[in-house]
Amino acid sequence: MDGVVGYILSVVVIPALVAAAVASIALVTPLRRRAWAVECFPAMAVALAFLVSFTNELGWTAVARQVITIEGDDAPFERWHRLGLAALMLMVGAVCIVAARMRMPRGGAPIVTMVALGIAGALAAQFVQFPQPTLLKQLGLAALVLAAGVALPLAGGAIYWIAWGAFGIVAALAGLGGFASLAVMCGAVSVASLLIAILAAIGGKFAKDAKPMEAAGAPLVVCAVMLALAARCGDAYDQSQTPDWLWWLVPLVPGFALIFTKQALRAPSIAAATFWRTLGAALVGVAILGAALAIDASKASGSDDADDPYADMYGG
C-alpha cells in the first residue's frame, strides 16, 4: 500500500470510522429514543476520534508517559502531547456529565453543563500548557474554553455539522502552519463529526420517537474544550504567518450560526433549520480560511518559494 494512503487510513479514516461506530450505537439503534444515549455516545466519539488518531500517530506511550514512568522510554515529553490525554479525559468526562445531568431534577441539567464547562476550563488552564506559558496565556485558554462553550449552543441541532467545519478549519490551518500531526488529528475529528451528523440525520428520519441532537451537555463540553485546545495548540506551534486572532476566532465559529437564526427558526423542517445554522458558521469558516491563505500567499509571493511548485511537498 502506498505510504501516504496507508498513513491517511491510519490517522484519519480509521479513527473516524471507529468514532462513527461508537456514535452509531445511539444514533441508529433503539437507543435513539434515549436522551442519555444520544448525548453520550456521539460526544464520546468526537474525543475518541482524536485519541485514536493521536495514538495511531504517536503510540500509546505518548499518552501513558504523561501519567506513569515507562521503563526504557527516553522519548522527550512534548507539551502538545497533552492533547491526547485531554481527549481521554474528555471521554470519561462525557460519561460523568451525562450521568450527572440525568440525575438532576427538571431544569437542573444546564447547571451541570455550566459547572462542567467551568471545571474543564480550569483543568485545561492548569494542565495544558504550550511553549512559553504565562499566566495570561493560561487564563486566555480558560476563557477560550468558556467562550466556545457559550458559542456552541447557538449551533443547536447542527452541532456536529458545524463541528465538521470547525475542526476542518483547525486541520487546514495546522497543515498550513507545518504541523502535520495536528492537521491529521483534527482532520480525523472533522470526518468523525461529519459521519456522526449523517448518522444522526439518518437515524432521526427512520427511528420512532427519535431524540434530536442538541448542543448541550456532554457534546457541548467535549466540542468546546477540544476546539479551544486544538486552536491554541495550532497557534502555539504555528510556523506560518496566520495571525493569532484568526486562531482565537476558530473555536467561536459555531456561534456564527446566529447569522441565520431567523431563517432557522422559521424553517419548515429540522433539515432546513440545520442548513441555515450551518450556513452561518460555514461563511465565517470560509472567511477565516480565505484570510489565512491570502496572508500566506502574500508572504510567499515575496519569497523564493513563489516559483517552486514543490515547496509544499516536503515529506509528502
Binding site: Y7, P76, P131, G178, G316
Partner: protein
Amino acid sequence: MRNALLVAALVAAPISLAPLMAFAPLSSQEAAAATSASAITMDPIHSMAIFRVQHLGAGYFYGRFNELTGTATWPLDDSAAPTFDVTAEVKKVDTGSEKLDGNLQGPNFFNQAEFPTIQFKSKSAERVGERHWKMKGDLTLRGVTKEIEVDCTVSGVGKGPTGQKVGFECMFTILRADYGMKWGIEAPKGALGNEVRMTISLEGDVAKAAG
C-alpha cells in the same frame, strides 16, 4: 658506563614510546590538561552544520544550520585532542525554502518552540591520524541526550585580519527516531529516512592570550 646506559634508557624510553602514546585514547581531562591547548571561539559566520536525509526512499535532501556558536580547545601543535562545546539554533535551519524551514522547525521535526537548540559536547577522543580524531560526546537534540561517535579532522590553521583561525570538519550519523523525531519514518511510511548524516564545518578564532 652502566649509569650512562641507564640514563640513556630512561631518556630513550619516552621518545620511543611517543608514537604509541600518540594513538592512545585521551580523556577529556587529559585533553584539557594539555598545557598548550588554545581556547577557540567559534566564528558563527563561517561555522555551519549540513544534514542529509533520504526523501521518499529516493534522493538525498540537504539542509543546513547556519551560525553555529560555541567554543573549542586544541593545541596548535596537535599534541592533544580538540574538545568541543557547540550549539546550533533550530531557528537557523536553512533549506533554501521558507516553507520547508517552517516544517522542520515545527513539532513534527525539531520542535523549535520547545527545544530551540541542539548541542554537542565532546567527552573523549582517540587519535586516528595526524590532525584526525575519533571523538565521543553527548548530542542533545529535542531534549534527548545520547552519546555519539564523531569523526573529526582539523581542516587547517590560518591567519585572518583578526588573528589566528582554526578550522575543523566533523562528521557523524544519527538515527533521528532515537531523539523522538519519528514523523515520516513509519507514518507516513518511508516519507523521510531515519538515518541522518551530519557534516559540521567549524571555524574559530584562537584566543590571543592563549595562542
